[in-house]
Amino acid sequence: MAERGSGRPDPGVAADAQWARDRRAEREAARRHRARRGQAVAALSTVLVLGTLTALIVTSPGWDDVQEAFFNPDDFVDIFPDVLSAFWLDIRIFMVVEVVVLVLGLMVAIARMAKAPALFPVRILAVVYTDVFRGVPTILLIFLVGFGIPALDLSGLPTEPIILGGIALALSYGAYVAEVYRAGLRSIHPGQREAALSVGLTEGQALRHVVLPQAVRRVGPPLLNDFIALQKDVALISILGVAGEAFRVAQIEAQTNFNYTPLLAAALLYLCITIPLARVLDWWDSPERAR
């Protein structure tokens, strides 16, 4: 290479710089070309797959009947306000049950992890609870609680289907959420508890101020996942004949008109809640958010 710093620009240096610029331009062009090609391929394959699926459905022998039974625009417009107002009840049930689930799950998780010998029965109870209520199908649990508790004929116990359904959902989801909390609590390094004890905190304070805040932060995404599932499963309590619940309303309408469009309307409403929740979950779980 030529010596630098002499007054006149060195032709060799200038040629090198030109060559480097050319190489950079070449690489950038190749990169743009690859990106354009990738987009074209993605677009083409999307059109192809969706087109084939649509064609398959639309040309099916029963398509006309299905269209009439599920996608009737007049019925949809007619029924939508009713289903929408019923859906508000679903949301309220969901919110109340969710709060109960969060508290119940946390209590069960802490009970399961209690080490004191005096708390042995509490621990066993918590284990049995999570095993049983996680192992029974939610719909079965709703039947058992919804029809079993009133059949006991004990005074003081609730008989309202909506309350009983809520209790059954809370019991079922409480078991799942307890396990989520427990996984979170166990994921906190024992050194955290020890450090908390070493600065003079009691076991309870160490749990409350050091271990629990970290565990709850860590299990946010899986908890939200259970929220989404619970939000949908509120529809299950319709089997107890809860009046005014969205799925129930849609079902009745569907049966009276021999048309399933109301069910589609209800499905859309559930999606209006669950899809945004899913996006929140994606955001929460994304690596970018972790900074």
């Binding site: 450090a195 070493s198 600065v199 905190l201 050091v210």
Partner: protein
């Protein structure tokens, strides 16, 4: 009569399952004294420190703090721990709290100090260890050396009767060791009674009044640093020091 030791360890044994980690350790640490424990990994240094802070139950023997037995089952462990400060090898800072909250948590919740007073104290203690202006940072945003200095500040904030330092530089990159050792030297000048488990021979020599060699759960010898490091009497100590020398660590 000589004044009462701050920490006295008498015949302490500790096993994890079949593995005997401490096989009868005796050690007394006087007020303002710094004792360093050296020995191979697994020799029982950390376990001994953890036993003193009652993070482990001992099997046999007794430990006294200011003449009171603390290893009796009836003793309130929380009260004992409030009189001791521990610095861990892996810092164990609270990652969900910022620097100043790490220091004040114990002061407010355990020390019965008001929030404002605890914060004022914490600012002073953090500044003393070169952490002024870092009060609102999360531990994750600090270097290992800074994190360990926060941990030292956290342990020192309550002005404990004694501090237990467990391999406080072992998790650090070599260029960060110096700043943490300076912080410990500062504690030493303050006259803090200390029990230190360490791998840093130079540090043990400089900061400790006495250095003890722990081998397979026994304290084989303990003497002033010069004597132990330059003229050990036990063959095991000689072997250990020779191995360190060969590895370039002495």
């Amino acid at each position: 009569m000589a004044s009462m030791p701050v920490i006295e360890i008498r015949g302490v044994t500790k096993s994890f399952g079949d593995r005997e980690v401490l096989r009868g350790v005796d050690l007394a640490i006087a007020e303002h004294e710094a004792v360093a424990l050296i020995g191979a990994s697994g020799s029982g240094k950390s376990t001994l420190l953890r036993c003193v802070d009652l993070l482990e139950d001992i099997d046999d023997g007794d430990i006294f703090l200011d003449g009171e037995v603390i290893t009796d089952p009836s003793v309130d462990a929380v009260g004992v721990r409030r009189r001791l400060g521990v610095v861990f090898q892996a810092y164990n800072l609270f990652p969900h709290l910022n620097v100043i909250e790490n220091v004040t948590l114990g002061r407010v919740r355990a020390g019965g100090v008001g929030q404002a007073e605890a914060e004022e104290q914490a600012i002073g203690v953090l500044a003393r260890f070169g952490l002024e202006g870092r009060e609102k940072e999360r531990p994750d945003n600090l270097s290992g050396g800074q994190q360990q200095r926060v941990a030292i500040a956290r342990a020192f904030a309550a002005r404990p009767r004694a501090m237990l330092l467990d391999e406080v530089t072992s998790a650090l990159d070599p260029e960060l060791v110096g700043e943490v050792l300076r912080a410990v030297r500062d504690l030493r000048e303050e006259g803090v009674t200390m029990l230190i488990a360490t791998h840093e021979m130079g540090f043990a020599r400089e900061v400790a009044d006495r250095v003890g060699f722990l081998h397979e759960g026994r304290l084989l010898e303990i003497s002033p640093p010069r004597e132990l490091l330059e003229n050990p009497s036990e063959p095991e100590t000689k072997r250990f020091l020779r191995r360190l020398l060969e590895a370039g660590r002495a």
